[in-house]
């Protein structure tokens, strides 16, 4: 009896210390016994006869035969409890004890551990991002170094390319000057003409270099424009031949030009763009060929012009072939200089002309460059300029140009052909002249002091003055041309202007 009381006392103490609560269920999970303190954990309604899973959520899905420990279960009271399921032969006892202290301690540790692990994970991610950023920076650095190398090589190329024709211009001009100044001029008139032709060729070469440089700036903005017009195809090819022959002669390589069409041959194409492309392609071929030949063949068939430039140069590796059309790109191992722009621009121009530039090459054998562009054939031929409309020679022309060298040159050339030319050196004087006198045609610069060419055009438009005005401008920017055209200019000529072009435009205007 004493022992039983003692046991009961001990049990009571343990139950109270551990805050033990319990309930028992039979095989069908009905409650058969429950301690009163279950409610302190928020388990209410645990009464004899009740279904265990109706009053205690964690009992759902469990059975009376499986021994199970469920540590740290959050009870309805919010306290964490440890649950032990102890199956017996006829019933299951479910013991619930308070685990709040253990849970709180665990919470602190686990929270810190998890936060630390998250930090480590984030650090790893950041490190990876840093590594990627660092790799990208390194790549950028390499690209910048390459860009810097290309820029240096470009500048040195530009310098070389410009100096070559300039040397020729200066040398031949000097020769002619000396011949004219010398009392005992031994050189023949023919020599002087040859020298001046060399100057002219080199000037055109220089102009094509400038055009390449300017066009490069327009590549990204899609500002390169082609302007097809009636032109003599044969004249273009012959000009190019004359221009480049001295270069091939200087290298002792053969230069063949084979044209499979009649001369003259009138077609519709942009002569200056085609000339620019041919100079670029042939210039490259001659530059890179040290022995053998360069061959230009042109075939006109069914209104399409097929051109091939082939050389017996060193050829281009497959790897370089992939890069060759990139701006500024130049093979590092050739020892040749250039701007690295010619091919990029030529490809774009050919594209705009409705063709495609194809390059094939075999190392040590040579390179072939082909393109085919529409060139609709015309039946008419261009009249020689000198024979055009003699009556127009009486026409009164006003020239507005602030550069006296250019003005003198144009006045001289037009006067030689019998035209009456008055010159003014700014826009305001041009406007005054047009108000006080009658002119048949105006040739005008854009950038002039006091009043620009645009201002004059605007004033003339406002006053209803219909005198045809041709603009001469050094700007190849398409928006400048558009602005002048909007203001009613008759034509827009790009400097340096050929006098023949001026006369052609002028006659066209006077005819109208």
């Amino acid at each position: 009896m004493v022992e039983t009381n003692l046991q009961q006392h001990i049990n009571q103490q343990l139950f109270e210390k551990l805050e033990l609560a319990y309930f028992c269920v039979d095989q069908s999970m009905r409650v058969i016994d429950a301690s009163e303190n279950l409610e302190s954990y928020g388990y209410t309604g645990v009464i004899t006869g009740a279904n265990a899973d109706d009053c205690v959520d964690f009992m759902f899905g469990l059975d009376a035969h499986t021994e199970l420990d469920l540590p740290l279960v959050e009870s309805p009271s919010g306290k964490k409890v440890s649950v032990s399921l102890l199956p017996g032969s006829t019933f299951l006892t479910v013991l619930i004890s308070n685990a709040s202290v253990q849970a709180d301690q665990r919470q602190l540790l686990q929270q810190k551990a998890n936060e630390n692990e998250l930090l480590v994970e984030q650090q790893i991610i950041l490190m990876k991002q840093l590594e990627t950023a660092s790799e990208m920076l390194e790549q950028k650095n390499v690209q910048l170094e390459e860009a810097s190398r290309l820029q240096t090589s470009f500048l040195s190329g530009v310098s070389h390319e410009f100096r070559t024709p300039l040397t020729s211009i200066m040398g031949y001009t000097n020769l002619v000057k000396q011949a004219l100044e010398s009392a005992s001029d031994e050189s023949s008139e023919n020599d002087k003409v040859q020298h001046l032709r060399a100057v002219q060729r080199s000037s055109k070469h220089l102009l094509s270099l400038v055009e390449n440089l300017l066009d490069h700036g327009k590549l990204d903005s899609d500002e390169i424009v082609v302007r097809p017009k009636a032109t003599d195809l044969a004249e273009i090819f012959n000009d190019v031949k004359l221009l480049l022959k001295p270069l091939s002669d200087a290298k002792h390589i053969d230069f063949f030009v084979e044209l499979d069409f009649e001369q003259p041959m009138m077609v519709v194409t942009d002569d200056s763009r085609l000339r620019q492309c041919l100079i670029n392609l042939l210039g490259n071929a001659i530059k890179f060929t040290d022995s053998g030949s360069v061959r230009l063949t042109a075939v006109l068939s069914n209104d399409f012009l097929k051109v091939e430039v082939s050389d017996t140069g060193p050829g281009i590796s497959e790897e370089n072939l992939a890069k060759i059309k990139l701006p500024f790109w130049q093979a590092a191992d050739t020892g040749k200089t250039g701007t690295g722009l010619g091919l990029t621009i030529t490809e774009r121009i050919i594209e705009l002309m409705g063709g495609e530039l194809e390059i094939s090459s075999v190392l040590s054998s040579g390179t072939q460059v082909n393109f085919e562009i529409p060139a609709p054939q015309l039946n008419a031929t261009l009249e020689p300029i000198a024979a055009v409309a003699p009556s127009f020679k009486q026409a009164k022309i006003l020239l507005a140009e602030d550069d006296y060298d250019i003005a003198d040159l144009i006045v001289m050339m037009l006067s030689e052909r019998g035209y009456q030319v008055s010159h003014v050196d700014n826009g305001e004087l041009a406007l005054n002249a047009l108000e006080s006198q009658e002119f048949d045609f105006v040739l005008m610069d854009i950038h002039m002091p006091i009043m620009t060419g645009y201002d004059v055009l605007a004033e003339l438009q406002a006053k209803g003055n219909t005198t045809p005005v041709a603009i001469m401008s050094a700007s190849t920017v398409e928006s400048d041309r558009a602005k002048a055209e909007q203001l009613g200019c008759f034509d827009y000529l790009i400097k340096p202007v050929e006098i023949d072009d001026v006369i052609r435009v002028m006659n066209l205007a006077l005819e109208q």
Binding site: D57, F60, G61, L70, A103, Q107, Q110, A113, E117, E121
Partner: protein, 158 residues
Amino acid sequence: MLKKKICMVGDFSVGKTSLTQKFVNNVFSEKYLTTIGVKIDTAFINDTKLIVWDVAGRDSLSPINASYLVGANGIVLVCDGTRQSTVRDIKDIWQVVKERIGEVPTVVALNKADLEDWHIDAEQTAYFEEQGWQTFETSAKEGQNVKALFEALVSEIG
């Protein structure tokens, strides 16, 4: 009334508690409070009472306590779309589930879909497809697909 026991399992800090709380109480907290042990909640989908066991996440020191899974009718595997490791870990977690209670209906929540540094692509979730699990991009914060996730599981359980 039908009752179903559902267990939310996955790595720590993937948003199991957030998804449960959004589903059960329509609340969301930005604060991260790690779950200790298990928290049991109830919710209804139509006439089915769901007893949702939000089980403490697996971490490098402690595996999932498989005792909690006993009697589960369905599993929601949760991973964090901004932490690829939590997607990879699903394979191991599934092994624990399978060993203890066998193959039960399962759906996957790719959680934290509202965050910008989402790193999950089809290659990483190919395993889920192989298993035939419906996968949901969820956001406990915005509630995206939360209800659909549980509805799909209930439908799978049948």
